[in-house]
């Protein structure tokens, strides 16, 4: 609105790769067909995976919870359509490792029958807690790519927050899902922002959007004019197109000039950042009661004849959407989930679309050829100029390559956002980000090893302390017994001269009966034990049974003898 007076800042570095966005913006968003089977990973977000709440064979309705996030940092998962639960097993999931993880399969019935659902009445009068609860129930996680549970971010105390930033930059080439979302659902997005404002009570709210999306900018501005009076303080801020301006830290720097501290989060400087897709999902959940069961995904790439954006049900196999976009299988060289800079190759087209899948690129050979061979670093310093995080990529490269993790950490490798700008400009084709990812992984591993070794040390020390204490206790008991025995001896020695003199006959027998009683008890236990051993031996048909029987008889004899002497002593 008052964007003309807005002072923009800039971040260091950045690149201008070929945008390749126009291919997929020619057609409006189309709803993808319901596939026969949906494959839903129970972990589509950062944090603890959800616990499956259904069994194979269960009938589920659209919007029914099928996996429950039990931890605070976790997310619910809902059935994207009605059908029957198939298997719950490990399937290939969209992850950089290409590994498999637990997925719930739903065999769809095509009826798309909804469960009872409704949004909050008068949601703009609701209190923050019930709004956050509504977001948590809907299983919303960050839809820009990282997948951090939204209710956790929304639970930051409002007193800490003064600025809400809506990330609509969408700086990565090829991806246009946010662009189309804003063009077609601008009003819903503004309403979603109002909900977030109600929760976080920020003083101001900026929608950061790159200037390569004029239609989306216009749509947002029209929606703002129609919907709001000026008190809501939402500003559409148009920023220059530069990769990676959509990085959270970079966008904050552009809009506010502030930098997120090392190892910190935006909330440390009073800012919360949400992706525009997430905001739309919040609106749907709060106002309409629709949980996160579908998302807008860009299907593009040279191997796709009609690239466009689809509204896809979560769990839809990539191959199903590709065929709707008329992909030519023989032309597909690589399938990439996410953008060409930060996305990853998926091995199989059966991999499902998840909450974070904003784009699928079916790339032809010419489009994304195999990376050229890595050459020696010529120390040109172009990576340093491109780095948006003001790091020293070349230094980090040497440290990562020689596994010098200590130095890599000292040079703040943890602040690397893995945007790939350094690799993009490297004239020697060094896969720099791969080296940083490796070093970061090693550092994480070393930290967790260190933690478990400290834990082991602690347990070892506690165990030793316990053993020492037990020995000390045993020693003390033994000592006490020895002392008691010594006292008794002394008493005995002292007693005999006294007995005849006083003629007290009761003292001695009482001691005697006590001792005899003990003896009887001990004999009884020995008999019991011998019986047990014998029973066990007989059960297993051991040869020792006979010997044990003999032993038992002996013990019984002893017991009777002891009992006899006790009787005598008593009488």
């Amino acid at each position: 609105m008052n964007m003309h007076h807005f002072k923009l800042y800039d971040f260091d570095g950045g690149i201008h790769p070929e945008q390749n966005k126009s291919q997929s913006t020619q057609l409006p968003i189309t709803t993808a067909k319901i596939p026969q089977r949906l494959i839903l990973p129970i972990a589509q977000h950062i944090g603890a995976p959800g616990n499956p709440a259904v069994k194979p064979g269960d009938k589920v309705l659209k919007g029914q919870i099928i996996a429950k996030g039990e931890d605070f940092v976790s997310c619910n998962l809902h059935a994207p359509t009605s059908g029957i639960v198939g298997v719950i097993e490990d399937r290939e999931v969209p992850h950089q490792s290409g590994m498999s993880a637990t997925c719930i399969e739903i065999i769809t019935d095509g009826k798309d029958t909804w469960i009872d659902h409704q949004g909050l009445d008068n949601y703009l009068e609701s209190d923050a807690a019930s709004l956050i609860d509504c977001i948590a129930q809907a299983g919303i996680s960050g839809m820009g790519g990282a997948g951090f549970p939204t209710h956790v971010k929304a639970s930051i105390p409002a007193s800490k927050i003064n600025t809400l930033i809506i990330n609509a930059a969408e700086c990565e080439p090829y991806i246009t899902s946010d662009d189309l979302l804003m063009r077609e659902y601008a009003m819903d997005i503004i309403k979603g922002i109002e909900i977030l404002q109600r929760i976080l009570l920020p003083e101001q709210c900026y929608i950061g959007i790159e200037d390569n999306k004029p239609q989306a900018i216009e749509a947002l501005q029209i929606a703002l004019k129609e919907n709001l009076d000026d008190t809501h303080n939402i500003h559409v801020v148009v920023i220059p197109t530069k990769y990676p301006s959509g990085g959270e830290k970079q966008l904050i720097q552009i809009l506010t000039g502030k930098e997120v501290p090392v190892a910190g989060i935006p909330a440390d400087i009073g800012i919360v950042c949400q992706n525009v897709g997430t905001v739309h999902a919040i609106y749907q959940a709060v106002a309409l009661g629709i949980p996160l069961i579908s998302r807008i995904t860009t299907i593009t790439g040279d191997a796709v004849s009609s690239p466009q954006n689809y509204q896809v049900l979560l769990g839809t196999p990539v191959t199903d959407v590709l065929s709707q976009a008329n992909a030519q299988p023989n032309k597909v060289k690589r399938l990439i989930m996410g953008g060409p800079m930060m996305g990853f190759t998926i091995a199989s087209a059966d991999t499902p679309i998840t909450k974070t899948s904003n784009c699928i690129i079916a790339a032809s050979d010419q489009e994304l050829p195999d990376p050229a061979m890595e050459q020696a670093c010529i120390r040109c310093g172009m990576c340093t100029q491109a780095c948006p995080a003001q790091l020293l990529p070349q230094q980090l490269y040497w440290f990562a390559k020689s596994s010098n993790l200590e130095q890599a950490q000292a040079h703040n490798i943890s602040d690397c956002i893995e945007c790939g700008a350094c690799s993009y400009v490297c004239p020697s084709n060094i896969p720099l980000v791969q080296y940083y990812r490796f070093a970061k992984g090693e550092i994480k591993q070393a930290k967790s090893d260190k933690k478990s070794s400290e834990q082991a040390k602690l347990r070892f020390d506690i165990r030793n302390a316990r053993l020492d204490r037990e020995t000390a206790e045993k020693d003390a008991k033994r000592k006490a017994r020895a002392e008691a025995a010594a006292k008794k001896q002394a008493a005995k020695k002292a007693a005999p001269p006294a007995t005849p003199a006083s003629g007290d006959a009761t003292a001695e027998p009482s001691v005697d009966t006590e001792v005899l009683k003990q003896k009887v008890l001990a004999a009884q236990t020995r008999v019991d034990k011998a019986r047990e051993r014998l029973a066990m031996a007989q059960e297993q048909n051991l040869e020792t049974a006979d010997a044990l029987e003999l032993g038992l008889n002996k013990q019984i004899d002893k017991l009777t003898a002891a009992q006899k002497s006790l009787e005598e002593a008593k009488s």
Binding site: A43, V93, H95, Q96, S97, M99, A101, M373, E374, Q375, A376, K401, S403, P431, Q434, Y435, R437, F438, K440, G441, E442, K444, Q445, S448, S452, S453, E454, Q455, A456, K457, R459, F460, I462, R463, N464
Partner: protein
């Protein structure tokens, strides 16, 4: 003459003053125990496996600090630990002493075949980190998160029902491998073929 007396007096006074400061510092800032033991202990892997022939990592660290023990007796730590200790002590790293065992590539964790366990508690007594749960004549089990993979429970088991299983990579523990070094000049490669 008085000049000499004054200077002697001044020097004695200074000596007493500094002596007092040093004496105070020696008492006030006394370091308990040998700090090098803590540093060595921190470098050791804390598996408490006893393969070095000492009953735990700290006793071995103690022995090294006293100077009468070699630094190459820790198979779980392997070459990297030896290098770190050598670095700390300023001595030359030595290859791992094979007499005490070999370095394993994979992390192992003990798993009890619970059907076969007779509940003898022998493994519980052997475990240095109390990672085995059970009671006499009750089935035992290993708390795998706490197991250091030290192997000490395997030998005492009378029915051999404990296996050492490699810990697999999970999606949480997975991380990117090091890029394969292709540090060859393209023209060189053509020539070598």
């Amino acid at each position: 003459m008085s000049l000499i007396l004054i200077s002697i007096f001044a020097l004695v006074a200074l000596a007493i003053l500094f002596g007092a400061i040093l004496g105070f510092a020696a008492v006030r800032f006394k370091v308990e125990g040998n700090p090098i033991v803590d540093q060595l202990d921190a470098l050791l892997p804390q598996t408490q496996c006893g393969q070095c022939s000492y009953p735990g990592c700290r006793p071995y660290a103690q022995a090294i600090s006293e100077g009468n023990e070699k630094i190459n007796k820790c198979p779980p730590g392997g070459e990297s630990t030896i290098a770190a200790i050598a670095d700390l002590l300023g001595v030359d790293p030595e290859p791992l002493d094979a007499e005490h065992g070999e370095e394993k590539d994979v992390t192992l964790v003990a798993v009890i075949r619970e059907d076969e366990c007779i509940g003898c508690t022998k493994c519980i007594q052997a475990c240095p980190v109390d990672a085995i749960l059970g009671a006499a004549k009750q089935m035992h089990t290993v708390i795998s998160d706490e197991c250091t993979g030290c192997d000490l429970c395997v030998e005492p088991c009378p029915v051999d029902c404990i296996d050492m299983i490699p810990v697999g990579t999970t999606m949480q523990s997975w991380h990117w491998p090091k890029p394969a070094a292709a540090q060859m000049i393209a023209t060189d490669k053509v020539q070598t073929i």
